[in-house]
Assembly symmetry: D2
Homo-oligomer: 348 residues x 4
């Protein structure tokens, strides 16, 4: 295989993080996130978002982060609203339901939730105690299909949620790529100001693992209990602190994501140059080209990528993902191979 575009967690960690782990390896610290590295990392994140009283909890993985956040903020009868393609709805093995809460879904063409799309869910539920009570809105930025929220969109959603007593939670598994995309006009401080809680994804942006969940203080009471109860309070919590401290020193977090986006844009151009269409118009590190089945099959012999969905006569939609680790050369070579295959296909 020449290269895997399967996902953004195919390698270990970026060199800076690996180096930081090596340097601190024998320092003795207390456990469970009470050490100095964790405290400094939390401080760095609070500074980054300009919210000195924010609660920050670093958690090993994204599904964990979602289920802990959702189950600790909702009362038993309350439900969370997402899109039909929301990660929590489709790809977390019912982890939210396993904590007792229904996921209400909205069909969207682009994975984006808007007040207009949420209002019918509220209307359908009213305050009828025979139905669940919508109480949280879950969005992903970037979305599961590569799109992103513009500032005006997020501001409108934020206002709507406040007016309707809905907690707004943003899953930032790929927040780095969102914030460094060419079309983006949001800062991390905007994200913090416009949501009630969000997480900053490390796993998919150069860390060995780790997500940093940020909550307004009013939602954070007793939060360490929930992290522990769900098995996410790492004994060697320092590992999370050291990684996030490294990511938020000197802008590394953004540089890693910007690299992934840059390679994605070159990859996108390669498809565009060949006249390939896309499922969504993504300006971030996930690209969803629609290929003839035979082309996809031939590409699979030398490149790894994921099947997304069947598009009938248009072919199959597949997913290509770039990351902090994707070499420019790999994209270049892929572009050549793609061009050749498409030419052969059209010639045939």
């Amino acid at each position: 295989m020449k290269y895997s575009f399967r996902n953004d967690y195919s390698e270990g960690a970026c060199p800076e993080i690996l180096e930081a782990l090596i340097q601190t390896n024998l320092v003795q610290t207390s456990g469970y996130g009470t050490d100095e590295y964790c405290e400094r990392a939390r401080e760095a994140i609070r500074k980054e978002i300009g919210m000195p009283d924010a609660a920050v909890h670093m958690i090993p993985g994204g599904t964990q982060t979602n289920l802990i956040l959702i189950s600790s903020l909702l009362r038993p009868h309350e439900a969370v609203i997402g899109t039909t393609v929301s990660h929590i709805n489709v790809h977390e093995t019912g982890s939210v339901e396993a904590t007792g809460h229904k996921v209400l879904t909205v069909e969207t063409p682009d994975g984006i939730l808007t007040p207009e799309r949420i209002q019918p869910v509220l209307d359908a539920h009213g305050s009828n105690p025979h139905m669940v009570k919508p109480r949280m809105v879950y969005i992903s930025n970037t979305t599961e299909i590569g799109t992103l929220y513009k500032k005006a969109e997020l501001a409108a959603l934020s206002k709507f949620c406040k007016e309707h007593n809905l907690i707004l939670f943003l899953d930032g598994a790929r927040l780095g790529c969102a914030l460094t995309a060419k079309e983006n006009d949001l800062t991390m401080a905007d994200i913090a100001a416009l949501t009630d809680c969000f997480y900053i994804g490390g796993t998919k942006n150069g860390a060995l693992f780790g997500e940093a969940l940020v909550l307004r203080p009013e939602y954070a009471e007793d939060f360490t209990y929930f992290v522990k109860q769900k098995g996410a309070l790492f004994a060697k919590g320092r590992l999370l602190g050291i990684q996030f401290l490294t990511l938020f020193e000197n802008g590394l977090f953004y540089r890693l994501a910007a690299h992934a986006n840059e390679q994605a844009m070159r990859l996108k151009q390669a498809f565009v140059d060949c006249g390939v269409e896309f499922l969504t118009d993504s300006c971030t590190n996930q690209q969803f080209p629609i290929l003839a089945e035979s082309i996809a099959a031939k590409l699979e012999k030398e490149y790894a990528f994921e099947f997304q969905e069947d598009c009938g006569e248009r072919g199959v939609c597949v997913r290509f993902v770039t990351s902090w680790a994707t070499p420019a050369e790999a994209v270049e070579e892929f572009a050549k191979d793609l061009k050749r295959l498409i030419q052969e296909y059209r010639g045939a």
Copy 2:
């Protein structure tokens, strides 16, 4: 502070593991434990225990491992039996109950469960549908208070569990120290043969993190679903594979634990030499000396350790833990300091 004996997860990872992570860092693999390192690690563990069809699931942390195992094997009305000091009963924030299951407890002087101690629980419950149904026995080796199971004890318990349709689960957070203790007469293969499922602790024995859960195949159906649903299916599962592969090549797992025990025995001797008594007679890496409060207070100025329990007139019981990383010199210096303090105390 001169040294922390607070726990066995105060440092990063043993050098061999760190080196393995560095060496493999840029290799691309598939995610979620489907990579080759994970497969080889699972194979190494199966070989170690002589059970070719065992299911092995590597999970980041211990609380997670316990809650996943217990919640996936029990039906809703079934309960798990532990001791009153069981980690799942006291120190996991009700994580088992959070999955819906009651923990039934037995008082013991030494943290060890025996058929005689379990029988009254079974008698009290019978098959009365107004009460939970005892269905699993949870033991820890070493126990939470440093003691360990001898082969005859585990064999008797195993036989009892089979006869009473009880699943026997062994929490091996400190299994390395159990298997390398001087008094131990069990092998890891014995553990596998005598239990239905158990886990091999990495976090407390030199790994950055990770526990390897081993299940008889009849309990393993669909197990990856449960790991995912509880948020424990690591995206970069390779990290777990690489670590356990390293631990089980050339006996590293045992050498690390043996070192911890060796330092613990020297520490114990230091206490014994000073006439100090213990809560339990531990031959493993956790020692529970009972100290005069003033001695404990003075030691705390230069050494870190944990408070265990108040022993009234006898003083306070504290916990000292050694690890793969504890330098012989640290123990030596501590022994001197202890001796001096005790002499001053007695002189006073």
Copy 3:
């Protein structure tokens, strides 16, 4: 108000049941369904369905019955498939999710599940451990919108479920009306033979309360524990036994339902005579006419019924329900009032 067509539980119990409760009132029995009346009721139901080894559990209410059945038969990662209008999906306040399980839904025009409609759900999930595992199919007969399953439909669904390892559960809150509808070609024995478990609704068919859940023996192990754990093991279980015994002596169960259907057909004819259209073509005791808003508003002054959904230009769909207790005179008077109102409306 002249009459309420709001639901089929607006009154107490049919006279035969009330009389049976009075006659047995001072007989002393053991509690929790272990009494002789319960045993005889279970026997009567087993005889009715021709399945001598069926397990029968009588439970006070329908939501309870659904949540107990579903949560006791599914393992944590398994999900139940219903329609978007399934009672468990919409009108039970997330009770199934509260027990940890996802409800997967299928859009249908008529509330009926077929193999063709279920297959895409299975295809989308495959055996991917990142997604829930579809394991049960939930159907209602009559459906939530008044339609019913024909024998061929249920047989095809049953075969499909067996082939795909899906448990088939039929919610029979209104099973009486299904089995006595003119278009019906199923017997209760057919229902038992073609499903894995189903319940016979008492609450909506003349009992004070009570649903009789029938399970194939292979699903019934330890079932009383689940009933108790969810708070559904009635202390005076005899009340359930006496009621179902009465319902299944001399065909009372069917006579009550046939009466409800008969009144519903007369009601339907009244709407048809006035040229009113319906949401669904229901041959059972729930009718869903679509009325001009002003007509509905005027009817509401003298009759009670429920709002179902907005049908835009066609008007509003409302729900009329008849029951064992609906007097023929009430329907007759309603028919006259309706005719008059519609004439006025058209004249206007």
Copy 4:
């Protein structure tokens, strides 16, 4: 069998309730507790306790009431404190744990919780996020072993709970017998004033079924959702309203309980006259005499009662329960039979 003293739910309902159900049988009402009978019953209870803004929810059974109350008021990491003999700890099939919460227990000689007995539980937990957080105190009045709370005891407990941010919940399955016991000095208004929530037991005091849960308004938000989600929102909620309305008109509730207590006192005297000892000194409708095994065996041929526990050389402790329905003649005859048997036994 001459008579069953097995429990206080061996018969149907008291005649007044049966009559009220008959009289209202054909009145049409709305469902789910929104009818006028329910409203009047809630009003009668609010008046009885002198708390006009109390929330009252009538629920079919006691286990249901407990699990709904506890699971709706606790956040996921919070636990409830009871005694080792608490009904929720022993005889509800782990229903509280099934909703995710740990039950912390205290050993007591008499089933009574006091500040002194609770304090050590709080001390052991502190604010350690590795342990559950005690947040509710569950007491029963009468207790599971027939004893009762005096006003001073309840006041002290109430004060302690307020000071320690603990919700005080009183299970009143047998509240009628508590409040009409000779030794009682509490009123129902006292109970309401001194607890945060409590329930008034109907099932064990002459109703067909039903418990009326009373909550301070600050705990009652959205409570109907929880009742529905757990399957306890009765379709024919009117049945609960009619019953509680009857119980609280003209003091019927108290008269029924006073009768049960009176018969219990006569039963107790019969045992005392024979020199029989008791497990607890109960002044209410549950009596726990300790009998020689051969006596118990002979009594069992003509009377039904329950085995409580083995008392070694002292014999077996059994439970006798009287109720609103126990005829004075049954007690009288039993007293004679007991006296005869004991005389024979002593003569032997």
